[in-house]
Amino acid sequence: MDRYSRQHRIAGIGQHGQERLRSATVLVVGCGALGTHSADALARAGVGNLWLCDRDVVEWSNLQRQVLFTEADARAGIPKATAAATRLREANSDVRIVAHVAECSATFLAALPGRPDLVLDGTDNFPTRYLLNDWCHANRVPWIYAGATGTEGAAMVVRPGGPCLRCLWPDAPATADVGTCETVGILAPAIAAVAAFQVAEALKLLVGSPDVATGVFTCDVWRGHYTRLPLLDRPSPDCVACQHGQHPALVAPAPMAATLCGRDAVQIDPGTTAALDLTALAGQLAEVATDLQRTPHLLRFTADGVRFSVFPGGRALLFGVRDPLRARALYDRWIGRRP
């Protein structure tokens, strides 16, 4: 019995579409809630090649919504990309899955063995989304932005030529302004809703359907609102990426993380000189971080068992962590700001 028989009965897919899915390559950046939902659906749909990228490990607080992980993964602290790949191979052994335990940086993307047909945003931070936006624009690869916090979600298909994420917001918003799953929480169905939009659009793009949605999908699953805002019929005339062919995130210096000699501490230098609003950040963290302490010179707090000291220029010291990659993940999660 053909495992895809129910799928290719869909008029927009058919046998031909199923073949196109089998030969397609999709890069899923971030294997959190959204990334695992979407990767699971794509693997089961028979997308032939899945590249997974995540720098973090499975933690207990992930299990509430990140569907590919088990308690055993969290106990062992398995890298998310590895754990997800194992589970997906069990679901569909025909799919060729490559797990990258890595930070999605410009260097990482440049070193990929080829160009994927599509990139799915499963990240939890805007700096990486802007990197995906610029890299995909430069390499003529479509990508699908998606994000969810609290009970709300948003998603948008970005095709080569735009409109793109920078048309919507020219620069990455500060984490303090948008909130994160850590600061405002996350309800699992909000993830499922944006994942449903993201996967449906992904399948349409991969089979070459003319029905790919435009505009920005938004939802609030608590209030039961699901809409598509008809924003952005065409690229913004001021967009540096769409109109001027510039890709700021590809040339921005990556944040530097250095382990302090002889200590369980890492210093993060965000590589930008723009000021960080410590008071706003303190407000965001008030309910979720502990030991919050604001002085004129720094903001201290404890989160995920790590003590943070953040300075007005965005520089931060993370005490109680040794691995620079882990420190960068924590920085993006709790402070999250890059050019």
Binding site: C261, G262, T295, P296, H297, L317
Partner: protein, 371 residues
Amino acid sequence: MIYLDHAATSWPKPEVVPAAMQRWFTDVGVSASRGAGDRCQVAARTVATARAALAHRCSSDPAHVAFTSGATESLNLVLRALLHPGAAVVTTAFEHSSVVRPLAALASERNLRLEVLPPHGDRGIDLAAVRSAFAHHRPSALVCTHASNVTGAVLPAAELCALAREHRVLSVLDVSQTAGWLDLRVGADVLCGSAHKALLGPPGLGFVAHRGLQLPAQKQGGTGSSVALAQHPDHWPDAFEAGTPNTPAIFGLEAALAARSEATERRELAATLATLDAFAARLEAMDGFRVHAAKTAERTPVLSFTHARLDPAEIGAILAGADVHVRTGHHCAPWLHEHLGTAAAGTVRVSIGPNTAAAELDFVADLLAGL
């Protein structure tokens, strides 16, 4: 930028230093003893002048002065050449990683016994304990720094080297922190130092100077001499100078040495210490600060401090936000912090140079007062 990290590397360098290096790139471009042309002669003369100037400062024969890539390489080569399996070594808690790590590696490779002397009183080290360590452990070498890179304490090197000689112990002195400030003629058998700190030369260059010892080569390669032989030469300094030398850096060092007499160095040290003492006095008067400064008779312009509520790394980040460059942490001196009580987080280190202005330190003290 207010630059307060001269104990790591001095900055800015005297203008003659980059000018001399530029002259090598523009007009010379070749190494000494790699050919017979005029430019090789120019290179050879400048290298010989630099070597002779260092020999003079180290009370050594120029034939016993070798250039290396830095004090770290100097110490590695010398310790490997000197220390035989099973040997005992007396050293101090003040040592930099460039002594600590080679000794630790040799201790496991060659089964060395290490006797580490703790800091002691106003002299830095207890000479009676040194004498007793020599008598008790019968070491083959005393390996010690001339000055602490954390507190600026200068050890009584002349007495230490005399005691070593009395007990037939070879003395190896790390002068990285003192070359360019103090008289190095203290009777050590071997001196290891670097060009880029108080000597105001460029990085990537160091030296070994000794008093006629048998120090066999630890690396083999081209020397421009004995080219017909497959065997690396055992005569000095060629034995220690395998490979193409860093001639532009030697040009820079030669210019730095020619531009500043030892008398000038002593005068500048006295003035610099006075500037630093005023800063230390301000810090000590401020709530929450603890200053770790040397109480020895001789000192280098280095001090460390800690704060009751702020981590040294936090202070470093706050100062960096005001474009003040200090150093925080353990300063590659792993043993000393146990004795200072600063093992967990290290210290903030302020180290100044001949051109550091009192007003710069006042600015920093004002900043710290506001924490």
